[in-house]
Chain length 199, copies 2
Amino acid sequence: MRVLGVDPGLTRLGLGVVESGRPTRPELIAVGVVRTPSDESVDVRLGRIAESFDSWIDEHRPDVVAVERVFARSDVSTIIGTAQASGLTMGLAARRGIPVAMHTPSEVKAAVTGSGRADKKQVTHMVTRILRLDAPPKPADAADALALAITHLWRGATAGASTPGKNKDVLSRRAAGRQGSGLTAAQEQWARALRAADS
Amino acid sequence: MRVLGVDPGLTRLGLGVVESGRPTRPELIAVGVVRTPSDESVDVRLGRIAESFDSWIDEHRPDVVAVERVFARSDVSTIIGTAQASGLTMGLAARRGIPVAMHTPSEVKAAVTGSGRADKKQVTHMVTRILRLDAPPKPADAADALALAITHLWRGATAGASTPGKNKDVLSRRAAGRQGSGLTAAQEQWARALRAADS
């Protein structure tokens, strides 16, 4: 299974692709950030994000897209742009028949570090470890996108969300299914062992 | 000039197309609402909106898309879905090279009724009058989309926003230009006369 994680934002949108034959050994496929200049109009910035996102889909052909869930109580100064970018990527993926899962920031932190209150540094550290990288992923902004993809691999592995296809039939089929949640016992055990070895 | 007005929402997304040879006599071309079922997942609903919106663009070929501006202080229960739907339509339009303008609800009310605090009923009444319809536009939800399109015709007529085209060059050109605002003196005069005749 190949997962494209999306950390949505108008100024910086993080993208990270992770693949797993065995869920406990995710592999880094690609990581990057789409930046759009804040002096451009919002529609043009969203148009650029749409083009970049579709290029990533074309190039990496993910089975699932995992997007960070946006809350109405998030940072007021950026919430509209973040929600707009998330809606755009979700709509583009769904229309291409790619299942989309949402995970909250605390679900991601909990899955990757064992604590829903972990800070950015801890998340980056664990992403580096889980993907067996020599150095923290660059750009740093995209570590969250990789963490989302890893979280989905672990939480979603039992959910059978990967039914790629096209158009309305897929939209209807997708509508019938829902994302599951929770790690399998084996994943939870492995994740705990990794955290213990790390601390 | 042909304007597609978009009243964004996840449950109901209003669409209204208005055309004008002379800015003071806008003509109704089409009006409708895209509804998505609240028991479907958000990504599937956004995928359906993307398909419907692109069909409207293909069928009506607007010169400009006018979208209601979403604020962080809007209704908390719907703000995320509204922002997601707005971001999706804006990104899809921009990527096709169609200029996108944003107008606030009070700008729309002021342009159409003369008061930024007008209620929904007044807006529907004036839209019916301005477009010389025999009855209020149906579905009622879409009157706001028509009001947005009319507002853009009046406010945007001096702004030269209609430069249709394709892809990145257009995105760059669009980035260089900005929407103007304010009615021309003649439009303001006509709008005042219409309101006076109406009251």
